[in-house]
């Protein structure tokens, strides 16, 4: 663990990514304390005389939205929703992908083939279209949104884990375990899965960048979490028709999404390099 951290620390971009993640998670957790106002309170004087949102000011740092609500409070609370869905969805996706991939790679035979054909099928689906279609039909809650995103994003994890399992299964220590009479389940959980942990860890981080973007896109298309729950994507969806007159309503949550995805990408990339010593000299 200490060695991993030493290798990770050398990559400044990755450390910056990790710091941003920590900061955003903290800000989302402390939203009730940090937010200056209630995110759903509509200020009587929160709009201009002709009903336009207020630009950023000393009172409303990020301005107000089309209903006269404080944008800063909504960005803080929305961050919690976006991050929670991103982390949950990616957790599910990595779980499904790892279990299916390791099973297909180790059990082989008919079950393995069936699983891999199924991943081929999922690869042919436009992930976003399928996700949109599912979310549109299901009228989603926070949990359902996370599940829908997971259902269309586990495929890549499954394929990577599958290839790695194939290589691992040929190794001597697996052969030895089998010779000692270990059951397939024991080999799977005690010997194979621990060796897959680096991959799982990398996808557990990198994948969040994708799922956060996915959630934002679902919300932007109008099939994400339902009001009044704010999520960054939903905030942009609500105010997209104001983007010329009140651009801060689009660009502040937009920047938040970009910075979050970027942070997870940088941290995940750094983690991958730190976990894979063969890659270290090549950078």
């Amino acid at each position: 663990m200490g060695e991993l951290w030493r290798a990770f620390r050398k990559d400044k971009a990755a450390v910056a990514g990790l710091a941003v993640i920590a900061l955003f998670v903290l800000a989302a957790l402390l939203a009730p304390v940090l937010a200056p106002y209630d995110p759903n309170f509509q200020f009587m004087d929160g709009l201009t005389d002709d009903g336009q949102p207020l630009p950023p000011s000393e009172r409303f740092w990020f301005g107000t939205d089309r209903l006269g609500r404080d944008q800063l409070a909504r960005v803080l609370y929305g961050g919690g929703v976006s991050l929670l869905i991103g982390v949950l969805a990616n957790g599910f996706a990595v779980l499904i992908g790892t279990l299916l991939g390791v099973t297909a790679g180790y059990v082989k035979g008919r079950i393995g083939a069936a699983i891999m054909r199924f991943t081929d099928l999922m690869m042919a689906f436009p992930a976003l279209l399928l996700g949109i279609a599912l979310a549109a039909i299901l009228k989603p809650s926070l949990f359902i949104v996370a599940l829908v995103i997971a259902l269309v994003s586990w495929v890549q994890v499954a394929r990577v884990v599958y290839t790695e399992t194939l290589a691992l299964a040929e190794r001597d220590f697996i052969e030895a375990a089998r010779a000692l009479g270990a059951s397939p389940t024991r080999i799977l959980f005690r010997h194979l899965i621990p060796h897959l942990m680096p991959t799982v860890l990398v996808y557990g981080t990198l994948g969040i960048a994708t799922t956060v973007l996915f959630e934002a896109t679902l919300s932007f298309v109008g099939v994400g979490v339902q009001p009044p729950m704010p999520s960054w994507g939903k905030m942009i969806f609500d105010s997209q028709s104001y983007y010329l007159t009140a651009p801060w309503l689009v660009f502040i949550p937009g920047a938040a999404i970009l910075i979050t995805a970027l942070a997870f990408n940088l941290a995940g990339d750094g983690l991958r390099d730190a976990l894979d010593p063969t890659q270290r000299g090549r950078r």
């Binding site: 689906f125 992930a127 399928l130 039909i137 299901l138 997209q240 937009g254 990339d269 950078r283």
Partner: protein, 306 residues
Amino acid sequence: MLTYLAKRLVTSAFILLGVTLVTFCMTFLIPADPVAMIAGRNSTEQSRQLIREQLGLHRPLPVQYADYVVRLAQGDFGRSFARKTDVGELIWSRLPATLLLMLGAIVAELLIGLPAGIWAASRRGRRSDKAVMTLSFVGVSAPQFVVGLSLLYVFAFWLQWLPLGGYGTVWHLILPAITLGIAGGGWYSRMMRSSMVDVLRQDYIRTARAKGVPEWRVVLKHGLKNAILPIIAMIGLDVGIFMSGVVVVESVFGWPGIGQLMWGAIQALDIPIIMGVTVVAAAFIILGNLLADLVTPLIDPRIRLR
């Protein structure tokens, strides 16, 4: 080669069949009953039964599925709930715009990604290399609707160099193509860099350098020829990313393609259109993957197909 092609075509057909099975199952997830929707609130059980028979919903599920596939094969995608028109016609009339946009996006991502990757590889390990690689993650991490709205704000509204969305001229294509291609540009710059780094380590490059060939010529002539091949082979795989992206990009820019059609159908919960677009998009993705597999041995004879 021919047996491989035949094998791949058969697999592709099966995958497409699987896709139709999933879209077919999706219709049963809809909470609203289509029969009740058509019959109206004050309908009798008799009239509902009549409609059910007209729609063929009284038959066993496998028969309904077979019927659905046969219709699809004939190009019959059913009728839109909201627009009361033929879904197949709607999709076909909008497909050219989407394909044009995707073509533009391929040009955009290559124009962004390749030079950035080549430059980073030629300055490997230096600060500029690190900067380009970090920047490539910005391209990958940017939500398309934010990129699209930002480009519109700066280049169409503020500078007024380009039109505020719409369709028709080359000028209309530029911003949507960049928006759709920017993530791909990020990935391509990373792949181009690592491909180039691998090539530049080979003996024939050392020979070229030893001969006294100037460095820019080594990179752009000797290196690029080999480094670019695996990248070109990947273009077919982009179709999947594009097919997802067009929904957002086309609706932001008012581009009249199947993505915009999908957007409208989502807001109206028009299931036949959603299903139709999904099937057509999947068909294009399968075609793109097939193309990528077939192109690989053509450009690199060392790879043999089985």
